[in-house]
Structure formats: structure tokens, C-alpha cells
């Protein structure tokens, strides 16, 4: 599905160059559930942003469904992003001024999906996530777990091929976190490709593959020995 070759990312502050990612090579196939782990500042978020086409590498190649993303201009990148990728954030990043319903609807608006179809899609998702009763509430009126549910709902409403999640449970209680992870597992079973960043060993167990980042290098890349659940 996607492959990156010799990806580099650095920041220049004055005379200083800070390397964030160095010589990253990675291939992800459809249907994988990849977990990225590593200490704070090791470049996990940066890698995820590059994969999600929100950020660009300073060097290296990025092929997405065999398309050379690194050669695309911003407009084409954001088109690809819009149609194939869903993003879940640690801080949820819901729009405070919009209701639950409107938050979930937003990506569909940007894809130009017709009103009737939108309604049906949102109704489906609300139903699936048990949030029908909450659809008219504002984010501030929800608990963290519920907000992240909305975040996930919003990420998958457009049926993306790839779901990226940057510490999706980082701000949640363990029980709320479990709900989200169960949801990911289920999406995975349904065939969605997922790449998540987490600090939590238990969450990593949901994935099929574990990548360890350290100081911008991939230290380890291996399959996950599934716990017996």
C-alpha cells in the first residue's frame, strides 16, 4: 500500500540542525495494523504526519499506492489525504463551535458529498458508535472518551483506506482507552489499514506489527506476538 525509502526530516534553527527522522525505510501493506512506539521526541508524530501527507520529508521517497507523493505539490497531496486517509489526534481536535453531528459531517462537506447521502452516512456512524443521543451536544459537553469517539467517527466517516492515530488514548482513562482500542481492532478486522502511535504496551498488543523508533532511527520492526485475549 505504501512504502517510504530513505526518509529524512530535520529542523534548522540558526546554525543548528536537529535531525528528527534519519534514513527511515518502511513498507506497509493493506490490512496491516502497525504500532509505532518510542520515547518522547523520537520522531513518531513527525513520521505519522509525513505518512498522513500533512508534513513533507526533507529527503527520500514516499510511494502511496505506487504514486510518488514526494513529487506532488501541496494541492495533490491534500487531495490524496482527503480521500484516503483518516487522522485521530491525542487531543481529539474537535471544533468547539460545532455539534457532534456537525463535527462528523465536516470531512464529508469538504469532499462534496450530497446532503442526503451525508445524512445516511452520519446516521450509520452515530448508530454504530452509540452516539445518537449526543449528536446535538457540543464537544465541551462530552467526556474525553466520548470526544475521542467522535474523533474516530470523524476520521472514518469518509471510509479512508488508511487510519492514522497519534496517541489516541493518551488523554483517556484506561477504560475509555480500551473502548477506543476495541473499536480500532474491529475496524482492522473489517479490513482497514491502521497505523497508531502509542506509549502503552497493552495498546500495542492490538496491532499486528510493532516499530520501535529511537532518535529518529528505526530500531526494531517486528510482528507482534499476540497476547491471548
Amino acid at each position: 500500500m505504501l512504502s517510504i525509502k530513505n526518509i529524512e526530516r530535520f529542523y534548522k534553527t540558526g546554525p543548528l540542525t536537529t535531525w528528527v527522522l534519519r534514513d527511515i525505510n518502511l513498507k506497509v501493506s493493506e490490512g496491516e495494523f502497525v504500532t509505532i512506539m518510542g520515547p518522547s521526541g523520537s520522531g513518531k508524530s513527525t513520521l505519522l504526519n509525513i505518512l498522513g501527507m500533512l508534513d513533507q520529508p526533507d529527503a527520500g521517497e514516499y510511494l502511496f499506492f505506487d504514486e510518488p507523493v514526494h513529487r506532488f505539490n501541496e494541492k495533490r497531496r491534500s487531495e490524496l489525504h482527503k480521500h484516503y486517509i483518516g487522522f485521530v489526534f491525542q487531543a481529539y481536535h474537535l471544533i468547539d463551535e460545532l455539534t457532534v453531528y456537525e463535527n462528523i459531517e465536516t470531512p464529508l462537506l469538504y469532499r462534496g458529498i450530497k446532503s442526503a447521502e451525508r445524512k445516511a452516512m452520519i446516521a450509520d456512524v452515530l448508530d454504530r458508535f452509540n452516539m445518537v443521543a449526543k449528536k446535538d451536544l457540543f464537544p465541551a459537553q462530552l467526556s474525553g472518551g466520548q470526544q475521542q469517539l467522535v474523533g474516530v467517527a470523524r476520521a472514518i466517516i469518509g471510509k479512508p483506506k488508511l487510519l492514522l492515530a497519534d496517541e489516541p488514548t493518551g488523554n483517556l482513562h484506561s477504560s475509555q482507552g480500551e473502548t477506543i482500542m476495541e473499536l480500532f481492532a474491529q475496524l482492522h478486522r473489517e479490513g482497514m489499514t491502521i497505523i497508531q502511535v502509542t506509549h502503552n504496551e497493552k495498546n500495542a498488543q492490538y496491532g499486528t506489527r510493532l516499530i520501535q523508533l529511537e532518535d529518529g532511527f528505526v530500531r526494531d520492526d517486528a510482528g507482534v506476538a499476540r497476547l491471548n485475549v
Binding site: 508524530s45 504526519n49 498522513g52 500533512l54 508534513d55 491534500s78 489525504h81 482527503k82 487522522f87 489526534f89 491525542q90 487531543a91 481536535h93 474537535l94 471544533i95 468547539d96 463551535e97 465536516t106 470531512p107 469538504y110 469532499r111 457540543f138 465541551a140 470523524r154
Partner: protein, 809 residues
Amino acid sequence: MQFKFILRSMARNKVYAGINILGLGLGIAAVLLIFQVVRYELGYNKNFSRYDRIVRVVTQSQSSEGESWNPCVPIPAMFAIPDAVPELTQVARMREFWPSISVPGAEDGTPPKKFLRKDPSVAFFTEPSFFEIFDLEWLAGDPKTALRDEGSVVIIRSEAERFFGSWQAAMNETLVLDNVARVTVRGVVEDLPPDCDLPINMLASWPTYIAQQALYYYDDNWGSCNSSNQVFGLLADASQLGAAERSLAKVGEKQYAENSSTGKADKTHRLQPMSDLHFSDKLNNSAFRTITKGRLKVLSFIALLILGMACFNFINLSTAMASQRAKEIGVRKTLGVGRGQLLRQFLGETAVVSVLSVALGVAVARLCLPLLKHISDVPVEAPFLSLPQTWAFLVFVTIAVTLLAGFYPAVVLAGFEPAGALKNSVGAVRGGHRAWVRQSLVVLQFSIAIAFIVGTIITLSQLHFIRTKDLGFDQNLIYTFYYNNDSLSVAKLNTLKNRLLQAPEVEAVSYNTDPPSSGNSWMSNFAFPSNAEDADFALQIKYADTDYPKTFGLRMAAGKWYDPSDTMKQAVVNEAFLRKMGVEKPEDAIGEDLKLGGRAGIIITGVVQDFHAFSVHQPIAPLMISTQRDYYYNAAVKVNPGDMAAAARAIESAFDEVYPEQVFEGHWYDETIARFYEDENRFANACKGFGVLAIFIACIGLFGLSSHAAARRAKEIGIRKVLGAGTAGITALLARDFIKLVLVAFVLAAPAGWYFMNRWLQDFAYRIDIQWWVFVVAGAVALVGATLVVALQTVRAALADPVESLRSE
């Protein structure tokens, strides 16, 4: 301590502090400039210490056309007033005149020195009681005797210096007025200040007036009321105005009734207090400039609007940023600070901003002081910052701005509930509950700005209309000048005309009383035809020679111009005359006769097409043009296109050759006409200036608000971009809220602008129709301004890297 915090907070929010200080500073500058205008105008004539008790006797006339006012007093009435009105402790007869002045040459053949009249200046024939009413500062001479004898004058210091080098040298020296009257300087007084409606340069004794009867139209007749013949008086007490008017009403009662066609007195004398002299819209003064209190109120109102707009910016930005301060307030409250203390803190912050703004405002106002001449008469040299009133006003403005701008935000901020404030949830839902106040203020700002633009466009269109309107005569390439019409000079008029026509530049020369359009008017009662009853309105008269139509390009509707004559035998009338008299075909009037005053049998030889004899404020009135050579004092020279400066020089040298002793002062006629509309020009300039300022203040406010909105919504913008929003979509999202406000402002301002400008246009008898595109343009200007300003902020926000704004610490 406090102060340090305030400065630190301003440094942190440089852009917002800058917007506040810039907006308020400019607003205050405008207010200061208007204050200077209003203060200057209200200070008029206060140089006279008896200001409160001085009155002018004026004449109120009734006719079928309505009432009219004139500062004239017939000479016999002047003599009746002192006895008839005991409430006046002093009465001074006065006669305005504008003499050319020269210092005669000596026996040894040194040529006379001629002096151009300085504008504005006026001379009066008057009597010693003048000095009991108006206190002047005497440098030399005795107020009791200086104006006692024939041939005595008192001049002001600067004229004395101009004529004789120094005022000390002027005493007992000789001057020649209008080439005829030799007078002796018997006193020198200090110059009058510029804010005085008696811009006197010379006072001559009353006996001199009587001695020069012919030259100065001395007419000792109850029927003659010349606006230059005036009476000023002094009340024993200002409260006796009513009593004095009642006594005055008896003056001339009998004579005016005898002279009137109805048998009832059509005139009464009234008193105009000195305090009204500068502000009357009915009566002119010797400075030929008045300004109504209404106009001053409009100016003050504009100042208030501009200052209000600047304060709105402050209110909007501080309340918009309130959420940022919510946390600080919450912490302070949990530490036990009282509401009152918080209020004081926030007002203190505003006071610092006010003081800085006032400082900026003073600096800008000083820089802009020379611009005042485009909207007012205030001379650049008029004292401004040296006046204690100005400083008192500045203190007042500082306090007013602090309260106006600071009070509401302070109440909002101090009113935060600590719990809510700490959770930072202020305004989290749907943009905040105070948003409507901000939105209303923005709407108000843009309404004001749009109204100003509408005003500017309409005044400029009307001015353009006036400038390009066919006035019915030519105003271009005509050079005019006055000459003395004493019999010696009149005898040489033909020589001058021939001499002028020899110049290759000159096409035609006409002698007359007035050009077709002038501020002057000669009116007379008349009958048409001669044997009919006098008409119940007065006829306007111009006297001119037979070259008049050629010189000014007048067009005939029927018949021909009258034949050459030195006295009044034939005449032409205008179309308005025929309409008013019910003559349908112009040809029918030819050969008819009319009676002017007591003079019957004036034959109408032609009908001239209507032309504007006054400014376009007034409808075209019935008019007659006839001959009367002794009355002419104005010459008009039509030149051919080409080097106009050379033409002017040729005319002047011809004049100097024929009249070496006379002072020459020529004017291009189109410039004279342009001066009729000085007031409108000023109004247009004021609209323009304040319109630009209003738009600017509204736009920088919008700049602050939109930049704040973009900052506040940075996270939302990031999310939306991640969800697939494009730059255009985000810009539109952010801009929409503000553009909506401008549209609402437009809807409010357009009818208001229409209403006020329509009223303004009513003052013109000839005016433009207000076109719909005026509003489109005004709306578009506001919209484009607002969009540019908002787009600047929102495009930047839309282009921002979403990863940046979404990075969670």
C-alpha cells in the same frame, strides 16, 4: 508596579496595542482639529470687551415673496434712532466702503504709491461714538477727536506700516482714497484679530462721507436701503434687547407705510446681537463670512462619531481578547481580589492607552493643522497648543476616552466568574455570548464610513455638476477688474477700450455693474407695462453696455440687444421675467415698455435666454439689463485662447497707461465663480477627509478583530485543513463573518446617507438626482476595504501549516 504590568501586557500584544493607539490617536487628532475649528469660530468678535451688549440695527422686510433680512438702515432712520431708542446708550452710524488707497506723490515729481486692498478688509465712515462701542487699542491719536472733522481717518498699525514704513510716521500724513478723496491720518490703532467680523483697515469721519456724496452713493432718503449703510449700538444692559427692539419698531413706521405699495409698512427694524453676527444665516457681515451654529454642531457631531469609532475598536479588541485574560482574572479572583479593584485595574490600563493616544493625537493634529484651510477658515497661525482651553479639552478627552472605551470592557472582564474563567470556557460555545456587542459596533463603524463615502460622492458629483453646468454665459477666458467711476475716469473709458482692443489677445471689452453671475444684486420695484400697478416683487437689474452679450456669450431668445446709450432708455429682460409676467411668446414682449422705480417708458428690445445670475443655490429670477454709464465700475475683457498670463499682462499695462493713478487688480472670472462654491468645496473636502479616516479606523479595527479571530481559531483551521478544507474555503469561512457585518452596515447606511444628502441637495435650486450607483460604489469601497483587510489575516491563517497549530505540547 501596576504600570509595569500594563506596559508588559502591551508589549506582549504589540499589534493590538498598536491598533488601539493608532485608531484612538487618529480619532483624537480629528477631534482636536474640529475642536480648533469650533473654538475658533465660537471665539469670533470676543475681542470686543462689550461683546454682550453690542447690537446691530437691521431691517426685516415683508413682501409677497416672504420675509427677507438686510443689515441696511436708511440714512434718515440712522438719525432717528438715538432719540427713539433710549435703551441704546451709544449709537454709531456706519458706511462700509472698500477704497483703493494711494499715497500722493510729492511736489518734486515722485510718483504716487498705489496699494492693493488686502482681503478681507473693510473701511467704514463712522463717528466718534464707534469707539465707545468697539474698544480699539490706540497707538496714536485721540478717540474723541480723531473722527470729528471732514477728511480725517484712523488707520490700523499694519496699514500704517505698509503706507509709511512705520506707524509712528503715519500721523498727519495724507492718503488719497479712490483717487479722489484726500484724507489725513488722525489716529493709528492696533490691528484687529483675524477672528473678528469687522476686519477694519481704516475708519473715516462721517463728514468725509457727506463731502463725497456722489462717489459713495450718499442717499438721504427713507426709500433707499443700502446694505453698506449700517448702525451699531450699545445696550446699557444685555437684558434690554427686547425693550430696545420695541422702541426701535417705531422708527420709520410712518415713512415705510407711505413708500409701500400696500400702504402698510413693509419694513421694520430689528436688533441683531453681536453674538449672532458670525452665526446668522439671514444676515451677512463685513467679513462676508458667517457659519451657522448648525454647521458647527454637525462638525462636533462628526468629531464625536470619529472618536466613537476609535473607541469601538478599543472595546471590540479588549472584549475579544477577554477570553485570553480569563485565566488571569480567575486566578486573581481566587486570590480574593474585589470586583472594584479589578475594575480599577482595567480602567487604569485603558487610561495608559488613552494618554498615549492623546499624545499621538496631538502630534498628528499639529502636523495636520495646515490642512484645516481646506475645510474651514481657521488660519494656520491661529493659536492652538498654546491655549489653556486646548489643554483643558485634552484632559477632558483623555478622561472621556478612558471611560467611553474602557468602562464596558472593564465591566465584562471584572464580571467573569472565577470557576468558569479558570476552565477557560468563556465564549467556547458558538463564538461567545458577547459577540453581538462587537458585531453591532463593527456594523455601526462601517455604517458611518459608508455614509461618509456616500456624502463624498454626492458632494463631488454636485460640485462637478455645478462646474460643468451651462450657466447660460461664458465664464472662461474673461478677465475682470474694477475701475473708479468718478467723472474724470469715466471720460477716459473709451480710450481704455480702444487701447485694450488693440492688443492682439483681446476680443471684446464690456463695462458694466456686474458680470452675469455675481454676489451683488441691484433690485428695484417696477411696473410692466409702464402704466400698470407696481408688481408685488422686486426686479433684479444689471447695467451694462452693448458689448456685454458679446463678452459673456449671452444668447438671445428674441429681439436684439438695446442700442448704445449713456442712460436708461431701452432694456432686455430674461425668460424668467416673461414667465413671471405671463408673457407666453418672447416676441410678444418686444416693443413693450416697463417702469422702473419712478422712471417709465423703458422699451424692451429683446429677451435674453435665462442665465444664472446667482449661484445655483437660487432659482433664476426675473431680471432686466439696461444702460446707465455712470453706474458701471466693472470691466470685463474677453481674450482669445492662448497665453493667458500674457493677456493679463497686456490688459494691466493698457490700464496703467490710461489710469496711472489707479490701482489695478484683475481676476479671471471662472476663478471668481469657483469661489461662490467654496463652502461646498469645503464640505466635500471634509467628507473626503473624514470618510477616509472613518474607513481607515473601521478597517484597522477589523484588522485587529480578524487577526484575533484567526489566532483564536488557529486550531479549528488546522483541523479543517486536516479534514480536507482548501485555502479558499478557509479564507471564506473566516472572512464571511466580517463581510456579513459590512453588508448589514450597508443596508443601514444607504438609506441614512440618501436621506441626509438629499436634504443637503435641497439647498440647491439646480441639483443632481442621487443615482443608485453612488450606493453601489460606496458599498463596494467599504466591502473591498474590509475584504482586503480580512483576507490579509485569513489567508495567512489558511496557509498556516496545520501540523504547527495542532501540535499538542
